[in-house]
Structure formats: C-alpha cells, structure tokens
Amino acid sequence: MTVTTSSDANGNVSAATARASERAAEHAEAAQLQPVTFAKALNTALADALEASDDVVLFGEDIGTLGGVFRITDGLTDRFGEHRCFDTPLAESGIAGMAAGMAMNGMRPVIEMQFDAFAYPALEQIFSHIAKMHNRTRGGLKMPIVIRIPYAGGIGGVEHHCDSSESYYAHTPGLKVYAPATVADAYRMLREAIDSDDPVVFFEPKKLYWSKDRLDLDALRASYDDGAPASRSEGKAVIAREGSDATLVAYGPSVPTALAAAAAAAEEGRSIEVVDLRTIVPLDDATITASVRKTGRAVVVAETPGFASVASELVARIQERCFHSLAAPVLRVTGFDVPFPAPKLEEFFLPSVDRILDAVDELQWEG
C-alpha cells in the first residue's frame, strides 16, 4: 500500500509555470539578454554564496589558480582569497573527511570531486560519515556540505571520467541528490544546496556545462535572495513540456534528450509530457504520479546503467502508484549494464532520441 499526497501539497510546479518561463525566455530574447552558460550560472552561484556567508568555503583539486578543470570556480580565489577557495593535496577521501570536520566546526564546505569516478576513494567518508553524522548524533551535528560532482557522459571522456554514479548516492540514506538540467536551475539549485543543512551530492551534467540559455541572471539572483520558499526546487519536479499521450521522466543530462524526443514525437502527432525531476532525493512522487495518471503511459530516461538503479526505482514507484491508470507497462531507456564505454562507443550507450521514441512506440498504442 502506498500513500500519495496531492500535487499541490507537494508544491508541484505546474505547466502554467513552465509556460510562464517560456514567455520569460521569449521576453529575454526580445530584451536582447545575453546567453548565460550552465557553467557561468554555477560560478555565479558559488560567488554569491561566498559573498552571502563567511561560513562558506570551497576546496578541492585544482579549483584555485586553475579555476577547476571545467573552470567552474574560475576567478573565485582571486576575488575571495585562498582561505575561501583553495586547492587541496590530491586526495578525495581527505577532501570529504576534512569537509566533515569543518562542518562539525560550523562551516559550510562546498567540495569539488574532479570527475564522477574520482569520487570513489571518498565514498567511505561520504557514506559512513557525512550521510550518517546527523543520525548518529541524534541531530547534534549537521553536515551542511555540498559535494559537487561533474557527472555523466556526452563529452568523449576516457575511462573513469564519465560515470553515471547517481544511483550509489541515491541509495544511501542521509544524502540529498540534486541533478539540475537547466541554466536557471544550475544557479538556483546550487544556492539551495549550499543553504541546505543536509549534505547534498550535486551532480553537474558535464555535457551541459557549455549549454546556454538567455536569461536575466541578475533577476534570478535577486529572486533567490528574496528567498520565497515556494520557489524552492528541492523535491519539486517541473513539467518541462506539457503533453497528454505519455510521460517521459528524466533528470539532469537526460532532460534535453527527453525534450528533443518529445519535440520529434510531436511531429509524428504524439503529445509527450516531460517531467524534469530536478532532485532525485527527495523525490517528487506527486508530480510524477499526477503526470502519469493523466497520460496513462510512462518511460523513464536516465544515463545510469539500468539494473538496480534510480531508473528502476522510478519505474517501481510509478507501477505502485499509477497501476490503475496505466495503459502500458512502464519502460526504461537507460545506459546498458556495462562499464561506461570508451569515447567512440559512447553513442551506442547513451539514451538517444531514437531509443526514447522506440520505447514510446512500444507503449501498447491501439489502432
């Protein structure tokens, strides 16, 4: 037996909001706003967080003088000083463990793991300590730590540079898992992650770093600082595209692919809704459920190997909650259950528009 809450109670960001942001984007274009990259939005969020509180401190490998291998921390050491944004020795467990200690002593560390698979030496610190400290001390110690992880494929990286590791973290109680997909969410969600009193594993889709969106970054910053809790992203999925025939559930790097598939499906006369989860933990069951109950069909899209993954969890939850509304089994389009492939094989591994459309076609359409 499962319990569902109403979509409003869970703060569902409605299709109306999505339409409003579409209108804002049109307005932005009309106002000749400059395109902002995902990377710039993250960099701005880090700078604003450093500005907002002396407790925020950034560290990791090569994030100082170099500005990070993806330049997400570019200019922050110059602007805020080496005591606020600094390089550590090359040791991921050390970075995570030191962050735990700094959090115990009142700071809000934001650490960078250079690449997704490079974080594995730090897993003991993350799983056994950062995730459990609040629990083990019965609330006595908080772990307001953000673990930034450049993540997933699409950039042609060689081995260990492109894992989709979200399922490991999502499986670990005590960790929040964020995966933004848009430039505006990159800014907003990173600020939220830093302000969160719980540890957040913050997945930055590498292939989106240089994606752009025309938006008024200053207005976005001002709206974050106004601090309206209703606009919080945590646990609030968005309807990234409205549709009525089937739902694609996606997060992070898969959202643009799902949107492209929905656009292609529209040309074939199918109206596909796309749900962008934004945060995997906590999960917005209500928005997913409402969408699937409306459309009666669902495909979960994720880069993670599908076996025992976030994608499997999403499918299970949809079946549990929407069984009587479903016209077809819920399908998954995920990475294969293989180690992340070499650059020249990557295209065969990643969920593609075609693969998503094939899955949609399999959803037992009548006639």
């Binding site: 003088t65 467990s93 050390g94 463990g97 200690g101 700094m102 030496p121 003991e124 300590h129 999960l283």
Partner: protein, 403 residues
C-alpha cells in the same frame, strides 16, 4: 619539463622557512626536529622510580619538564577510575547488559593523558577503544556507553563536549579532526585537536591523507597513535616495515615522537608539549605511545590464538597503574587517605555505570526516521506513517488477545 606555475618558487621557500624556523627555535637541525628520539621517552622506570634525566630518552630539542605533583595526582585518580571503568564494562558485557566493549585495560595511561593534555576549547577525536579518554574528558559515562549497549550509534553531543563520536571505521576520524582544526584556523581560533588512532589504523589510506593535509595546511593537530601491538590478531611487524610508527610523520614534514605508553608521567609531558607546540603554530605532530592491550580485541575475540602468555605476563609487569602508584607513594604525593578517596571515586563510577546500564530504556521506533535529514522527506514521512500504523494494529491485536 614545463614552466613551473606562477608562485611555485615562493611556496617552496615558504615550506622550507616554516620548518627552518621551528628547528631554529630548538637550536637543532630540521631532521633532528622531525625525527623521533632514538627510543621511547620514558620518565619512570618499570618499578615506578624516576629515571635520571640523561636516561629518559630525551635529546636536544626534545626535552621534557616533569609535570607538577598536583597534575600527576589528578592523572592518577583518572587512571584508577579508568581501570575500574574497563573492568566494570567488561563485566557488564558478560552479564548481557552491553552488546560489546572494546576494553583499553592496560592502555589507561594513554587514555587519561589524552584527555588531560587538552584545554577546554580543544577537540578530541577518539576511536571505539577510547571510552576511558572520552569519560575523562568529562562526558557522562552512561552516554559514552550508548553506542556499545546498542541504544544508538552514538551517545553524546560532540559539539557540547568537543569530542567526536566514537566510530568503528578506522582512521576516518583523523580527517574530521583535521577539518575541525582547519575551520578553527580559518576563524583565527587557537583550538588544538587531538586525533587518536591505533597501530593498525596507520595502514589505512585516511591516516596518510590526514597527516598530509594537516602538514600541508600547517594545522594544530596532534596525532596520537596508541600502538598496542595488535590490530585484532595481526602483530605490528605485519602492519609496517617502518622503524617505528612515529617515523611515519617525517615523510609528511611533521615531527614524530615515541613515548612509553604505560608511563603516565612521560605521556603527560610529551602530549602537553605537543599540544603547546601545535597551539604555538608549529603545525601538526605525531606521538606514538608504546603500550599493550591486555585483554582481547573485544569479547568476541580469542587472544590466546595469536599471542603467547609469556608476552602478556611481560607487559603485566609494566602495568601503568602500579607504576604510577609506586612513584606517587615514593614522592609522598599519595598517601593512604588519598588512595581511599580515589578508590571511593572509582567505586562511585562503577556504580554509576551499573545503575545506568541496568536500566532498561525502551527505544522509540519513530526515532528511526527522526534524524535522517534535518527535515524528513515525503518518502520518510510516508514510511513513518506506515510503521506507526503497523504498531497501532499490533497493539490492538495484543489487547484483543488478552480479553
């Protein structure tokens, strides 16, 4: 060879200058400052007699003043109480009042010195075997035992007492100590952190990362290794090929020192100096105490399978309690009245432990969900509601059954 990055030369000079300055302060070479003395620092001999200064194992730059009599008497009291704590807790495990107790019987001098070398604002990061140190730092004994009795995976508020929770993964807490010290340094506070581990833990990766981070960032951390000779069943020779565990410090640019871990006088002298040096900005230090775990790893272990009785007897002759007692009696710091008072304090502690641990406290099942996040997620709220419902139905069934 590429062009060195901007500022690399300056940083290299800075690194050398930092060590030079410290060595100059003691009028010795950098190598002599970093390397431990030839043998363990030992101020009392095995009978508890004060060794002549020239035979205490000190070297230029490594001299240790004798702690004051009042401090030694206070330490002896904590030592006797600590021994009683170990024996009482072992008995409580046998009586089924506790799930497990990793006893520090034989290592109490290390435990007591660790707690007594710190100031009120300093932090301690203990291991699971360091319950006596935790209690000596002033934490309620029953709260200290919460982890081992099985009520909760931690029993006291670390922030309130400035003591990290005892955890079972090895050496991970050293990095937490490094983080606490780093935060304090960034805020300009003069906090010192004492981070504790055992000999087996020095083989773990986090040991090296913690020492390296502390040295690179010049943090006020004293790493205190209680070398009790065995990592469960594996002896030190199988753990390391280094001349001593203290020698490991040198590779990180950190001073190391060896001390007799059953000599409370020497431990207090060496640890207090290390804390003072750390507070004065000389960066981290490593102190290795040479001691022995007289009992098994825990009650689940059979120590007779991996060590000889003769070896245990040899260490029994070096017992820290009898040694310290003999010294204080010979110096007339301790008399019969003092002994009676201390015995009473130890008994009071044992009673407190027995009373506290014999009390059955019913756990609250809803606690399962209470502290996962600062605010529960919808998923956790649903799961909690289901458990509450399940328990209510169970209770209703039981009530019906009794009718």
């Amino acid at each position: 060879m590429g062009t060195p990055p901007i500022g690399a030369d300056a940083r290299e000079e800075d690194r050398a200058a930092y060590l030079d300055e410290t060595a100059r302060k003691f009028g010795i070479s950098v190598e002599d400052y970093l390397l431990p003395t030839d043998g363990s620092i030992r101020i009392l001999d095995e009978t508890g007699a004060l060794r002549p200064v020239g035979e205490q194992g000190t070297a230029p730059g490594h001299e240790y003043p004798l702690p004051e009599a009042g401090d030694l008497l206070e330490a002896y009291e904590a030592l006797v109480v600590g021994r009683r704590v170990n024996d009482q807790n072992s008995a409580l495990v046998r009586q089924g009042r506790m799930a497990v107790y990793p006893s520090s019987h034989g290592q109490e001098a290390c435990q007591v010195a660790a707690a007594l070398c710190l100031g009120a604002d300093d932090w301690m990061f203990p291991t699971y075997r360091d319950s006596v140190a935790v209690m000596t730092k002033g934490i309620d004994p029953v709260e200290t035992m919460t982890l081992f009795r099985g009520d909760w995976h931690g029993g006291y508020d670390p922030k309130k007492y400035k003591v990290g929770i005892q955890s079972t993964p090895l050496t991970t807490q050293l990095l937490h100590g490094v983080g606490v010290a780093h935060a304090a340094k960034l805020r300009g506070e003069d906090t010192v952190v004492l981070a504790m581990c055992g000999d087996g833990a020095t083989s773990e990766g986090d040991f090296h990362e913690a020492l390296n981070f502390a040295a690179v960032f010049k943090l006020p951390v004293v790493f205190f290794v209680q070398n009790n000779q065995y990592a469960i069943s594996v002896p030190l020779a199988h753990q390391t090929a280094a001349p001593s565990l203290a020698h490991k410090a040198v590779g990180y640019g950190m001073a190391g020192e060896r001390v007799d871990g059953n000599d409370l006088v020497a431990l207090l002298a060496v640890l207090r100096r290390a804390v003072r040096l750390a507070r004065d900005g000389h960066g981290p230090l490593l102190v290795e105490a040479h001691t022995y775990r007289m009992q098994a790893h825990t009650n689940a272990d059979d120590a007779t399978r991996y060590r000889q009785d003769a070896e245990v007897q040899e260490w029994l002759a070096k017992d820290p309690v009898t040694r310290m007692r003999a010294y204080l009696r010979s110096e007339s710091v301790l008399d019969d009245a003092g002994e009676a008072r201390i015995a009473e304090a130890a008994e009071a502690m044992a009673t407190r432990l027995r009373d506290g641990l014999n009390e059955d406290v019913a756990p609250d099942p809803e606690d399962l969900f209470r502290y996962v996040f600062t605010e529960p997620t919808t998923q956790l709220q649903e799961q909690r509601a289901r458990l509450v419902d399940e328990l209510a139905r169970d209770a209703a069934t039981e009530t019906e059954g009794t009718r």
